[in-house]
Structures are given as C-alpha cells and as structure tokens.
Amino acid sequence: MAKTIAPKQLAQKVINHEETLILDVRNTDEFDNWKIEGGKVEVVNEPYFNLLDGIEPVESKLAKDKEIIVVCAKGGSSEFVADLLEEAGFSNVYSLEGGMKAWSEHLEPVKVGDLADGGALYQFVRLGKGCLSYFIESNGEAAIIDTARMIETYEEFANQKEVQIKHLIDTHLHADHISGGRHLAQKVGGTYYLPPKDATEVTFDYTPLEEGNDIMVGNTAVKVQPIYSPGHTIGSTSFIIDDNYLVTGDILFVKSIGRPDLAGLAEDWVGDLRNTLYNRYKELSDDLIVLPAHYSFAEELGKGGLVSARLGDLYNRNSGLQVEDEAVFRKMVTENLPPQPNAYQEIRETNMGKITPEIEKQKEMETGPNRCAVEG
C-alpha cells in the first residue's frame, strides 16, 4: 500500500515554496480546467486509465527516488497509481488523501500581522480555489470576512486562540463559493453582515453593512471600516482594518481586477467599477496593505503563502489600474471575459438562502477555479 499525504501537509509544501512534484492522474480536460499550483509546484498530467497496462507513459518523466505526490479527483485512482509506481520500483510515492475534492476544501491560516492595540490579523488561504478570507482577533473577540463554507476550520482556530467569534461579514454576495458566514453566525450567536444592495433577494435576516458604521472587534479599537465600493456587484464593500489594511473583496486583486458580470450586469456596473478603482481607492493612503478575496495566479502567493500588496505599488504595476482611456477599460471588463465559475447562479441562490442543496451537492458546485478576475 502506498503512503498518503494529507492536504494540510501538501499545503505547507506549497506555501513554503518547497520543490514539489505532482503526478495528476485525472483526465486531461479536468486537469486543464483546474490543477494544483503555487510555490515551486511542478505538475505532470497522465490520466490513470492510460496506466492500466503499465506505467511506461510516465516512467521516463519521473525519477525513481524523487518524492512524487499522486493526485486524482477523490483519492481512489491516485492510490491505485501510487501502488503501481511502487511496484515498478519508485520508492518515494504518496497519494493525496481525498484528492482534488479535499484539496479544494483545505484552508491554510497565514498570519498577516499584529494589530496596533493588540490582537492580530490572519489570512485563510484556500489554495485549491484561490479564495482568501480574513480572521481578525482582538481582546477575546473575532470577526471573519468572507468566511468559506468549511466553518469548522474557523471554529477550531478561534478555540485555539481562545476568542469568541462575534462578527461574520461578507464583502459582497459571492458567486464562486458558498459563504459560511450565515451558518457560522447562527452557530456561535454572532452577527451576519451583508451589503444591503446585494441582499435585496435574500430570504433571511442580516445586519446591513453601511459606510460610517464601524464594527468594533474586542474592546480595543480595531476598526473595521466599510467603504462602499461597487463594481463587482452593486453592493461590494471594502474594509479598512486598523488604519493599515484594505480588504478589497472582489474589486481589486494583486495582479488583476474584479469582473462586473457575475450578477449579469456588466454594462451597468462597469462605471461603478471604474469609479471605485480610479477614484475612491485613489483617495485612500498609498501605504494601505491590500488584502483581496482571491488570487488567480500561483505567483501571487508570497512568502509564507501570504497574498497582499501595498496599494500605492498596485497603482504602478497592476495592469487593471493602468487603463487611462475609459472606453478601453469598458471594453476590457465587458468583452473577452474568462468562463464564469462553475455553477455560479446556483451558488448565488444558495448564498441568498433561496436554495439549500445537500452538502455533497454544495461540494460539487464549488469544484473548479474561482474565476472572479479580469486580466488587464
């Protein structure tokens, strides 16, 4: 029996930029659509069904003594192939437990920094999907921004830190992943916040996010200051935390900008997106550290897995912020958009409370990359 590796161990290798060789044995269409990336990951694709008669198709591509992590959709075929490799004399082979399905669910906490009056800010990196959420803790209390569906991870983290989760905040109504904010708020007796303009169709009670109504975390003044910044959705809201960090949601990423079409209104919202990126954010301090809700490119994963950048630097190097001509900008964000995320309409309806798919269905809806960005 081949050895296995847990998603957590693989995540550590990726964020620590360790050299990692992956043999992905899913079929090539699935591989091309979505694969493990980041750090110093090298991936070879060969569908498992091409290896049933023998491992010749991959034998020359892999070194017998080198560590090889075999990956498939759910963990069955990778184990099968790992066994075949071992039989053929490969000595350092592992199968990824639970496959891409489990990888898609893994959240890796990365510390962003300490807060001025005590407490700290953490970024939870969902390596399998490129989703980022934020955990702010101060004086025994915590707030989470853009909580992922896997709420147990945050609960365990809160227990370890001995803090009580009080505020669950979504920067916008998500279309690429199912929010865990509402359920976690119910579970811990916290408050769930949404931008009211994104919540016109929701079927549950929520607390509206409003500019000027700061959210306090703990007794110390960790302000979570909403800024109305429409564009990706009409309600999209950003947050300034501790006068130092700017949580941008799906409006501004490190290497790209948000797409305005996932609620079906690209033409209407492109003006808002432009105004937020080229006017509203420009009025803010250049020294703010931008913390987005996604990353799209493996190279955006910085040291220790952190995804962030100084706002002033992004005005110099993010291609989505360099488009002087408004007509060119309009064209860029409304034409030639990447494919929409898997099941994005159903995901939106789930986040509105209109449908409640069973858990296996929810997992299936979330497979694949996030695709919330437009490249400039």
Partner: protein, 74 residues
C-alpha cells in the same frame, strides 16, 4: 441498443469502473458493444476520455442515478 455484454459497475468508485471496463473489453472482439452501468459521477468524463484514447467508440450514454454507456470495441 443491442449489447454483446453488460458490465455492472454500480457502487464502484474510481478507478474501478474503468479497470473493470477495460478487462471486459479485452475479452470482446472488434465491433462488439459493451454496455456499462455505473454510479460514480466521475465515470462520465473518464469513460469518454478512455474510450477515445483507446480507439473505441462511445455510441451512446444515458444519464440518471445510474449512468449507462454503450461502447463499441475499436
């Protein structure tokens, strides 16, 4: 559709539906049709890709709780 042989791969998870399909196919002659019943959703894209790479022809497919495939040996 008339099948030469029916393979029941229901309840089996990846990679078994394809391992069994391949084994059954090896015992058939060119032009024979194998009918496969599977419940693993991954079988859909994998069987399609496998048939193509092996030079077989996927004649038809039926979706539902049980996925059904008809593959003609190439």
């Amino acid at each position: 559709m008339k099948a030469t042989k029916v393979l029941d791969a229901k309840g089996l998870a990846c990679p078994m539906p394809i391992v069994r399909t391949k084994k059954a196919m090896d015992e058939l002659s060119t032009g024979d049709v194998l009918e496969i019943h599977a419940t693993d959703k991954g079988a859909k894209s994998d069987l399609t890709a496998w048939a193509k790479s092996g030079g077989h022809e996927l004649l038809d497919m039926e979706e539902g709780d049980v996925l059904k495939f008809w593959i003609k040996k190439g």
